[in-house]
C-alpha cells in the first residue's frame, strides 16, 4: 500500500469538486476540450470485475483499462466551477459541485507563496443590498396624476460636464430681449444616464470589446439612446480613434497612463472629439489598489496598443507625482481640457471611501470650473483582476456615500454643479433600471455599470466564487481572455444584440418607474419618492421610514 501523503492536494482541498458519472459518459471528450482551466483530464483506471457462473461461488475476475474523466488536483489547474463541462456534456455526466470544505485559501497560499488573485467580484457579504431595502413609495394619484409610460415623452438625459451656477452663466440680455452668450462656458454633454463602465481593451477580449462598441453605436444611431462607453485604461484601437464612433467613447486615463501615447498621436487625425475624458484615481472593487493585467493577457495587439512588452502590467494605486487635489488633479484637468481645446468634459473617478466627501467638497470649490463629473465607485463593482484580499476586504458601499456627496452639495447650494455618477454592484440582481432609478432619486445624475455588461454577454461568474478567473486569460466564455481559441467562443454580434436589448428593456423600465411618481425628467435628488422599511437605512439616507 502506498504511503499516504498528507500534504498532497486532493479534490476536497479545492473550492469545487467534479461530479462525474462514468455510466452516463460516452467519452466524447467535449468537456475536457472545453475546460479552459484544464481542471479535468482523461485518465485510465484499472477496473476489476468479479463474477460467478456456477451454482456455487466460483469467482472469476477480469481486469480492464477504462478511460474516465477526472478532476485535476492542482492549485494551478483547479476547477473554478464555471460549469462549461456541464454545458457541453451531451449526457449530463459531469458538472462542478461547490465544496463547502474547501481549504483553498490556505493551501494555495502555502504552496504558492503568493497571494491569491482573481477577477473582480466580492465574494463576502452576500447579504441583502441597501438598494433592495428601498422602494418607490410616493405614487402620484388623483390630484397629481401618474404619467403614461407608453404615451408620454420622457427626457431621460443626464449632464456630463461642469455645470456653472446660474449666476455665472455667460449671458447678456440682447437688444431684442433675448439672452445671448457672452463668453465661454465649460463643455457639457447630455447623455443617457447609464454609462457603460470602464473596462479596458486589455481586460476584455477584442471580440467582447468590439461587441460593446457595436452595441454603443447601435444604441446611439438606431435606437436614439445616447449611451456612452468608457474605454477603461489601456488605450483604444487607432482605427476607432480615427473613426466617427469616437464621439460615443469616454477615454480613460488611469495611473498607468497605458495607451495614451497612441491617443495623443492620433489626435491630429481625429475627426470627432471623444465624449469625454475620465481620470481614474481609484475604483470601488479594489480601492487603493492598482490595475493588474497579468502577462498571460498581454497579447500582441495589447502590446501594440499600449506600447509595452509581454509582461505583467501593473498600474500603480495612485497617479505618481499627483498627491493633492489642488496641484495635481487640477494640473491634469487643465492639460486634458487643453488637449481637446476645452471642448471635451473631463471627469474624475474615485473609489467610494470614508474620505470621498472631502474629495468631492474640494472639487466643487474648484475655482476654474473644470471638473466635469464625479464618478463614485463602490464595492461590488469592478471587473478587473486583483488580489483577492483587496477585492474581499477593502471598499465602501456606494449608496450612503453617494447620498453623502449629494447632501454635501445641497448644504452648499451647489447640487448638480459637478454631476454625480455612481456605480458599484448596480444591476447585481439583474434589475439595473430599479437600481439606477433609486440612485438617481438619492442624488446621482446617472450611473455606470461594467460587470453587468459582462453578464449580458454571457459571463458565468457570480458573487459566490463561481469562475471569477478574469485574471487568468482563460475566461471560458471568451469575454476576458486574449486566447484566440477562447475569444472565438464569443459572438460579438450576439454580445451587441444582448446589450442593445437589455438597454431597451431597461429604458422602458426606467420610464415605468418615472411615470408613477409623475416625473418626465430624471428625478435627481427626489428622495421623497423613496421609502424604506428599514429604519436604520431610512435615517442614514434621510428618506421616509415606513412600516
Amino acid at each position: 500500500m502506498e504511503t499516504m501523503k498528507i500534504h498532497d492536494v486532493t479534490a476536497n482541498d479545492l473550492p469545487w469538486k467534479i461530479r462525474y458519472d462514468a455510466s452516463r459518459c460516452t467519452l466524447c471528450g467535449s468537456c475536457t476540450a472545453a475546460c479552459s482551466f484544464r481542471a479535468i483530464a482523461p485518465k485510465v483506471e484499472r477496473r476489476r470485475l468479479v463474477w460467478s457462473e456456477s451454482e456455487y461461488p466460483e469467482p472469476k475476475s477480469r481486469y480492464s483499462a477504462v478511460p474516465v474523466i477526472r478532476q485535476v488536483k492542482s492549485i494551478k489547474n483547479y476547477c473554478r466551477g464555471c460549469g462549461i463541462c456541464e454545458k457541453v456534456c451531451p449526457n449530463d455526466a459531469i458538472g462542478p459541485v461547490r465544496n463547502l470544505d474547501t481549504r483553498h485559501p490556505i493551501v494555495t497560499r502555502c504552496l504558492a507563496g503568493d497571494s491569491i488573485k482573481r477577477g473582480g467580484r466580492k465574494n463576502l457579504e452576500a447579504t441583502v443590498r441597501t438598494l433592495d431595502k428601498l422602494r418607490v413609495g410616493r405614487i402620484s394619484q388623483m390630484t397629481d396624476p401618474s404619467l403614461d409610460a407608453q404615451r408620454h415623452t420622457f427626457d431621460m438625459l443626464a449632464p456630463f460636464g461642469r455645470i456653472l451656477p446660474p449666476g455665472k452663466l455667460p449671458f447678456k440680455v440682447g437688444a431684442d430681449g433675448r439672452l445671448e452668450k457672452d463668453g465661454q462656458a465649460p463643455p457639457v454633454h447630455w447623455i443617457y444616464p447609464v454609462v457603460i463602465g470602464d473596462m479596458s481593451i486589455g481586460a476584455l477580449s477584442w471580440r467582447m470589446w468590439e461587441g460593446v462598441a457595436m452595441a454603443t453605436a447601435y444604441l446611439n444611431e438606431q435606437c436614439g439612446l445616447p449611451v456612452r462607453m468608457c474605454s477603461g485604461e489601456g488605450g483604444v484601437p487607432v482605427r476607432l480613434l480615427k473613426s466617427r464612433f469616437l464621439k460615443y467613447m469616454i477615454l480613460q486615463i488611469a495611473s498607468g497612463h497605458f495607451g495614451w501615447n497612441r491617443i495623443v498621436k492620433a489626435m491630429p487625425e481625429m475627426i470627432e472629439d471623444p465624449a469625454g475624458v475620465l481620470i481614474k484615481i481609484g475604483q470601488g472593487a479594489k480601492p487603493g489598489d492598482g490595475g493588474l493585467l497579468q502577462s498571460q493577457k498581454v497579447a500582441p495587439h495589447i502590446q501594440a496598443i499600449r506600447g509595452v512588452p509581454k509582461a505583467d502590467l501593473l498600474s500603480p494605486p495612485n497617479h505618481q507625482g499627483l498627491y493633492s487635489i489642488e496641484e495635481s488633479v487640477q494640473k491634469m484637468f487643465l492639460s486634458f481640457n487643453a488637449a481637446f481645446k476645452f471642448r471635451v468634459p473631463v471627469a474624475i473617478k474615485v473609489a467610494a471611501s470614508a474620505t470621498s466627501v472631502s474629495v468631492f467638497n474640494n472639487l466643487v470649490r474648484d475655482p476654474y470650473n473644470i471638473v466635469g463629473g464625479f464618478f463614485l465607485d463602490g464595492i461590488d463593482g469592478g471587473t478587473g483582476a486583483a488580489h483577492e484580499v483587496s477585492l474581499d476586504h477593502t471598499g465602501h458601499p456606494i449608496v450612503s456615500k453617494l447620498r453623502d456627496c449629494y447632501l454635501a452639495a445641497t448644504t452648499q447650494g451647489r447640487q448638480g454643479q459637478i454631476p454625480l455618477w455612481a456605480a458599484g454592484g448596480l444591476g447585481k440582481t439583474g434589475d439595473l433600471a430599479a437600481d439606477a432609478f433609486k440612485m438617481i432619486c438619492l442624488g446621482a445624475n446617472g450611473v455606470f455599470t461594467g460587470k453587468l455588461i459582462l453578464q449580458m454577454a454571457g459571463c458565468v461568474g457570480n458573487d459566490m466564487g463561481r469562475c471569477n478567473a478574469c485574471n487568468t486569460g482563460l475566461c471560458p466564455a471568451g469575454i476576458t481572455t486574449q486566447e484566440p481559441a477562447l475569444a472565438h467562443r464569443l459572438d460579438p454580434e450576439k454580445v451587441a444584440q444582448n446589450i442593445v436589448n437589455y438597454f431597451l428593456a431597461m429604458d422602458q423600465e426606467l420610464k415605468k418607474l418615472m411615470a408613477p411618481i409623475g416625473n418626465s425628467s430624471l428625478p435627481v435628488g427626489r428622495s421623497d419618492a423613496l421609502v424604506s422599511t428599514d429604519k436604520a437605512v431610512a435615517e442614514r439616507l434621510q428618506i421616509q421610514y415606513v412600516c
Binding site: S140, T143, D144, P145, L147, H152, T153, D155, L157, P159, G161, I163, L164, P165, P166, G167, L169, F171, V173, G177, R178, L179, E180, K181, A185, V188, W190, T410, Q412, G413, Q415, G416, I517, G518, N519, S520, S521, P523, V524, G525, R526, S527, D528
Partner: protein
C-alpha cells in the same frame, strides 16, 4: 384641485370682484380659506404708491412688537387702515384679533437711497418681523411693499367676505391688479402663510397644482436667497423661481417658462438658441417643475401673466373686455364678472406658452 383667479383692469376694482370671480368656482373645493394680493392700489392708498405698506394679521401684542421694530429701524407711519370687521355667530372664519394695513415712510437715511437698497431694506424688515412674530404665534406679515396689500384668512370665503365687508363695493379699498385664491393649502399644515398667493419683493405668484419636484426646488432655493423661506406650500417654489429668474438673474420673463418647464431635448436641438436653452437647463435643473400646474404671476411693474405645466394637466382661461382682463381656473368665474365679453376671444393657454398682460391691458401670447 385648487381654483385661482386674477383681475387686471384699467380702472380701479374692488375685491368684491375677486370674490365673485372665485365664488362660482367654489363647487368641488373645500372652502378652507381666502387670500388675495392687490397691486397698483387705489382708494385710500392711492396717494402713497411710493411708500411701503405693511399687511399684517396679528394679536395686540404682535402689533406692538411689529410697530416697535419698525419704529426702531426708523420707519415712520403715514397711514393706518384697520378694516372694520363684522363678526356674527355662525361665520366660518378663524380670525386673528387684528388686521392692519399701515403705510410707512422710509427711515431718514434711506430716503435718498437707491431703489435696490430700499427693496433690500423692506425684505429684511419683513423677515425680521416674521421671525419676531412667529414666536408665540403673535402674527403674520404677508407683505411690506409699496403699492401692495395682502389679505389671507382661514375659513369659508363667503364668510370671510362678510366678515371684512368685502361684498360691498366701495372706493376706499381698490386696486388695478388683484390675484386671489379661495382655498387653504392642503398638502401640508394649515397655516395662514400657506395660502396663495405668495408675495416677495413685488412679485406675486399663485398656482393650481402639485409640484412633484418640490423637494428638489426647495433644497436648491433655500440656498439661493435669504428671502426664500417658509416653504409652507409646494407652490411657493414657483414664486421663488420667478423672483430668482426675473429679479436676481435679471433674465426677461419668457425665460421663466424655459426654467420651470424646459423644452424637450429634441425640440431644443432644433432651436437657434439651443446653446442658451441647454445652459439654462443645466444650471437650473433643480428649479424645474414636474406635475400638473397652472401658475399666475404678477411682476413689480404690475405685469400679469399665466403659464401651465409642460403637459397642460391643469386648466386656465383668459377672458377680456376693453377695460379688464381676467384669468381664472374655470370660465364660469369669468362669466360672472365679464358677462358681456366676446367669449370667442377667450384664450385657453397651451402648455408651451406664456400669456402676458402688460401695460394698457395689451395681451401677448409668447410661444416658448
Amino acid at each position: 384641485m385648487c381654483r385661482i383667479g386674477a383681475i387686471k383692469s384699467s380702472d380701479y376694482v374692488h375685491p368684491s370682484q375677486a370674490l365673485l370671480l372665485m365664488q362660482s368656482q367654489q363647487k368641488g373645493h373645500d372652502n378652507s380659506g381666502f387670500a388675495m394680493v392687490m397691486h397698483d392700489l387705489g382708494g385710500i392708498f392711492k396717494n402713497y404708491k411710493h411708500l411701503p405698506t405693511l399687511s399684517l394679521a396679528c394679536t395686540d401684542e404682535g402689533l406692538k412688537l411689529a410697530e416697535d421694530i419698525l419704529h426702531e429701524a426708523g420707519f415712520s407711519r403715514v397711514l393706518q387702515w384697520v378694516p372694520e370687521t363684522f363678526h356674527r355667530p355662525g361665520l366660518d372664519i378663524n380670525a386673528m384679533p387684528n388686521y392692519v394695513f399701515e403705510t410707512f415712510n422710509y427711515p431718514k437715511q434711506f430716503r435718498n437711497a437707491s431703489p435696490k437698497e430700499k427693496e433690500d431694506l423692506l425684505l429684511d424688515m419683513r423677515l425680521q418681523l416674521r421671525f419676531a412674530l412667529e414666536e408665540g404665534d403673535q402674527g403674520y406679515v404677508y407683505s411690506f411693499w409699496p403699492d401692495v396689500v395682502t389679505l389671507k384668512e382661514i375659513g369659508d370665503p363667503r364668510d370671510i367676505g362678510t366678515y371684512f365687508n368685502l361684498w360691498q363695493p366701495d372706493d376706499h379699498f381698490t386696486a388695478k391688479v388683484i390675484t386671489a385664491q379661495c382655498r387653504q393649502n392642503t398638502n401640508y399644515d394649515i397655516v395662514r402663510y400657506a395660502a396663495h398667493p405668495f408675495f416677495l419683493q413685488g412679485y406675486t405668484a399663485l398656482a393650481n397644482g402639485e409640484n412633484t419636484f418640490y423637494l428638489k426646488n426647495k433644497e436648491f432655493q433655500r440656498k439661493l436667497h435669504r428671502g426664500y423661506i417658509g416653504f409652507e406650500s409646494d407652490s411657493q417654489c414657483f414664486l421663488y423661481t420667478l423672483h430668482y429668474v426675473h429679479r436676481e438673474l435679471g433674465w426677461p420673463l419668457p425665460y421663466y417658462k424655459h426654467v420651470i418647464t424646459p423644452l424637450p431635448f429634441e425640440e431644443v436641438e432644433r432651436r437657434e438658441d439651443r446653446d442658451e436653452l441647454l445652459a439654462i437647463r443645466q444650471s437650473l435643473t433643480h428649479l424645474e417643475i414636474n406635475g400638473p400646474n397652472t401658475i399666475i404671476g404678477v411682476l413689480p411693474d404690475n405685469t400679469l401673466f399665466t403659464c401651465c405645466d409642460a403637459k397642460k394637466l391643469r386648466p386656465v382661461v383668459v377672458g377680456r373686455s376693453d377695460k379688464m382682463v381676467v384669468i381664472s381656473s374655470e370660465v364660469c368665474g369669468i362669466n360672472e364678472i365679464l358677462p358681456e365679453r366676446d367669449w370667442q376671444e377667450d384664450i385657453y393657454p397651451n402648455e408651451r406658452e406664456i400669456v402676458m398682460i402688460g401695460q394698457d391691458l395689451e395681451v401677448q401670447r409668447w410661444r416658448q
